[in-house]
């Protein structure tokens, strides 16, 4: 595997990962900007429109026909949240030309198609094409509506709104439904133009062989844009509330959800990650073994580290009658770690679990892209092996200190309506 990152324009990185084992080429372009309630929807729509048509493929039908003729090549856009930043982008993957039975140069065709979508969108008089934009906006509105369909995901989103209230991270990366419905085609295009000029841009190309055509295409295309990149804060610790904030919703559901957010001001990322792994990220973690297995209080109970905000979120599926007991036991399990009750086997299995995950990076193109992007956000490019060495250096004392740095900030409950009545 060969990895290389080149700065092709101010605050625009092009990372290339060449790994001969893959049968596909893939590309991810990420536009990174501050998350705000005002612009989130326009940004999502401005980039979302890129995969519905281009100046050359003027309708979704034409664009899709071309993609399917290239052996089902995939092209889509996305919006994500990472702490206080919004990440918008375009992702594509295609079959390497070696497997094309009609001898087409799929890589070259995709390069041209991607160039068109990003740099020559389907725009007239400063507006995205009306039909294409209408499809994009409806898709986003439907997507916002459908968030409730996934109860676990919805509960975590609502918990984030409460935990990070007053900070950019409280907003959805899609914006609100009202805001999205109000964004005009011209506004969405303006938002996209602004992203091209001001956002931090990271491009990842992963393929079995070198193709200098991709980096050249991006270098030339961005040279025509007058860049004025704005700073973004990749890490912004969320302040702990003076009193634990509580929030709840009631729905016609059979299983309640509880999401507890703990906050820490610790800068010891590696200790926090190990703490979260021991606490609730594996099937031998304290939460799984005690709250679920021994005490049968929850069907699932897991923790996750939200590193950019200095938070650990614990989400659980729980019967209403067990909510208080589960809450107390989750806190008790964290106290166990604070009191130093971490066995050697717990520490070693957490380390092995992290090592297993790190060693698997590179087995899919997306794992390479995600790994190097996350390290870019951390401000230090390193290999999975180097990161593993950092974990290996964490002592039990540092994990205990990390646990002691956590305090309960807020609790969100999704309650069953019938039982309430």
């Amino acid at each position: 595997m060969r990895y290389n990152r080149t700065e092709i324009a101010p605050n625009i990185g092009f990372s290339s990962v060449i790994d001969e084992k893959f049968k596909t080429g893939s590309l991810v372009v990420r536009f990174i900007t501050g998350l705000s309630g005002e612009y989130a929807a326009a940004n999502a729509l401005g980039t979302g429109a890129l995969s519905s048509s281009s100046a050359r493929y003027r309708t979704l039908a034409e664009l899709n026909e071309k993609l399917s003729s290239l052996y089902g090549a995939a092209l889509s856009t996305f919006a994500r949240k990472r702490g206080d930043i919004q990440i918008l982008g375009l992702t594509a993957s295609w079959l390497n030309k070696k497997y094309a039975f009609d001898g087409e140069d799929v890589d070259a065709e995709m390069r041209e198609l991607i160039r068109g979508c990003i740099f020559e969108p389907n725009v007239q008089d400063g507006c995205f094409d009306a039909d294409s934009y209408s499809i994009t906006r409806k898709d986003l509105l439907d997507h916002i509506d459908a968030e409730l369909n996934n109860k676990r995901g919805y509960a975590i989103s609502r918990a984030g709104e409460i935990a990070f209230a007053g900070e950019p991270a409280e907003f959805s990366c899609y914006g609100t439904k009202t805001a999205a419905a109000a964004v005009t085609s011209a506004e969405a295009y303006q938002a996209y133009r602004k992203l091209l000029r001001t956002s931090q841009i990271e491009i990842f190309y992963v393929a079995p062989e070198e193709d200098p055509g991709f980096i050249e295409m991006f270098r030339e295309s961005f040279a025509a844009i007058d860049r004025a990149p704005a700073e973004v804060a990749f890490r912004s610790i969320s302040p702990l509330k003076t009193e634990v904030a509580e929030g709840s919703d009631e729905f016609d559901v059979r299983q309640c959800k509880m999401v507890m957010t703990f906050k820490s001001a610790s800068e010891d990322f590696f200790a926090l990650k190990l703490l979260s792994t021991i606490f609730g990220e594996t099937p031998v973690s304290k939460l799984f073994m005690n709250v679920r297995e021994k005490m049968s209080l929850c069907y699932y109970c897991a923790s996750r580290l939200v590193s950019p905000k200095g938070a650990v979120m614990v989400d659980s599926g729980v019967e209403r009658g067990n909510i208080e007991k589960a809450r107390a036991e989750i806190i008790n399990q964290l106290d166990e770690i604070k009191n130093g009750n971490i066995s050697d086997s717990e520490l070693e299995s957490a380390m092995l679990s992290l090592e297993n995950a790190l060693n698997q990076i590179g087995d899919t193109p997306s794992s390479y892209s995600s790994w190097y992007f996350e390290r870019f956000c951390d401000g230090q490019i390193k290999t999975p092996a180097e990161q593993l060495a950092d974990y290996r250096n964490v002592t039990k004392e540092r994990i205990i200190e990390a646990a002691k740095s956590l305090s309960l900030d807020s609790v969100y409950l999704m309650l069953d309506k019938e039982a309430a009545e």
């Binding site: 039908a61 003729s69 089902g72 079959l95 059979r254 594996t282 087995d363």
Partner: protein, 426 residues
């Protein structure tokens, strides 16, 4: 014990098949350059296998719904500890799943695969249940059933199956019901275990950063030979007709969702593979974003990018399902039926057919790029009675005439059902 190398003529990929002396079928795919290992130890035993007998049994045994899934949960505990605790010592990530026609135990790892393989082969061959542990599991699975009931995608799917099937157990939730799992006890679990977890009814599939000789040496060490007891599974008679054309339910959802499905005639082995390939191309032509129908429905705002199709088939059932979000699913259903009638009258477009076929080929080759997909592909193909790369060769030989035959014979309007979940205010 003979090693049989299976190669894809189209892509050059290959794997090894061994019929082990213990009775187990073993598939091994060495994938140079990859770091991870994915192993699946599976049995042809899923939620639909509720009626069975072995050689010498006069009568069929009927067991409660959900028992295959219950057994999967219980096998994760052995006499001394939980299996997760054993995997924790090797760093592997262990898991298991039960589907309609199979149960599989799996792990993925990036080192110590030999030790993890020993754990896998050992615990699956060593059942240990007591009434106390069975009683405890009833509570945990009861919670799982409650949780899946809150999943609208799950509910819309099972509601659709209940519209299609009169008697076939595929219409029952994989986990069963709170009532059916209450009838499960330790003796019943042992009976099911010794019936279906016979190595002659099982397969080991392992792919990634492995060496075939090492895998086979561990199999020699850990597998306990089994006598083939002539397992026979049967299903209740299932009429060709559907039960009802549509079903609506309300639930707390932000967007209404639908499943629209055709009940087709069941088939198995190579025939199922051929028919699945035809069904896959035909359904992809209908959901293709460049098709006239898709564009029409998009303009009418009755579909969005979630509109998709899948083939759902197994022992005694074969269905083609369209799913998505829509404020007017009736319009989507009628459009699908009308489009198929048009194709029957005018024929399908050869150019579109070839384009979609090419797209399907690309997606199949891309699956071979992934350790987990390859391990699953080998296990699923074996359980379906086909070879790992047969889908690619069957797809290559598929003609527009085959697709038309499938439309004509299987996608009939009177076999079309629709299930909808709407929000309270929709």
């Amino acid at each position: 014990m003979e090693k049989n190398i299976i190669t894809s003529q189209r892509t050059g990929d290959s794997c090894i098949h061994v019929k082990h002396s213990s009775g187990l079928d073993i598939y091994i795919c060495e994938m140079p350059g990859f770091s991870s290992v994915e192993a699946l130890f599976g049995t042809k035993y899923g939620s639909v296998n509720t009626m069975f007998r072995q050689k010498g049994d006069a009568d069929f045994t009927v067991v409660p719904e959900g028992i295959a899934h219950f057994l999967e949960h219980k096998l994760f505990e052995n006499e001394d500890c939980d299996v997760f605790e054993l995997y924790a010592k090797t760093g592997a990530s262990g898991n298991a799943f039960t589907s309609f026609d199979k149960t599989a135990y799996l792990f993925s790892c990036s080192k110590n695969y030999q030790e993890s393989l020993r754990i896998l082969l050992d615990f699956v061959q060593k059942p240990y249940f007591t009434q106390a542990t069975v009683d405890k599991e009833q509570g945990i699975i009861g919670q799982e059933i409650q949780m899946t009931n809150d999943n609208p995608e799950w509910r819309v799917f099972f509601n659709m199956l209940r519209c299609m099937f009169h008697n076939h157990p595929v219409k029952i939730d994989i986990a069963g019901t709170v009532e059916s799992i209450a009838r499960i006890d330790a003796d019943l679990l042992y009976k099911c275990y010794y019936t279906f977890y016979n190595l002659n009814n099982m397969v080991l599939s392992i792919a990634g950063n492995i060496k075939a000789d090492e895998v086979l040496a561990i199999c020699d060490e850990c597998l306990k030979g089994c006598e083939d007891k002539g397992l026979e599974t049967v299903f209740p008679d299932e009429p060709a007709e559907i039960v009802q054309t549509e079903i609506y339910e309300t639930a707390p959802v932000g967007a209404s969702i639908f499943n629209i499905g055709f009940k087709c005639s069941p088939c198995s082995g190579e025939e199922r593979l051929k028919r699945s390939a035809a069904a896959s191309v035909v359904s992809s032509m209908l959901t293709d974003a460049s098709s006239d129908m898709y564009q029409r429905l998009l303009k009418e705002e009755v579909i969005n990018s979630t509109f998709d199709a899948e083939i759902f088939a197994g022992d005694g059932f074969f269905t083609v399902i369209f799913s998505g979000e829509s404020p007017k699913p009736e319009r989507v259903r009628d459009a699908i039926a009308d489009e198929l009638e048009k194709w029957l009258a005018e024929g399908i477009c050869e150019k579109d057919f070839q384009r979609i076929k090419k797209s399907a080929y690309g997606m199949l080759v891309r699956m071979l790029n992934n350790v987990e997909s390859v391990a699953n592909l080998m296990m699923n193909a074996h359980m379906d009675g086909t070879g790992p790369y047969d889908t690619i060769s069957v797809l290559s030989g598929l003609t527009a005439g085959d697709a038309m035959d499938f439309i004509r014979n299987e996608l009939k309007r009177e076999k079309l059902v629709m299930s909808v979940i709407k929000g309270d205010e929709q």
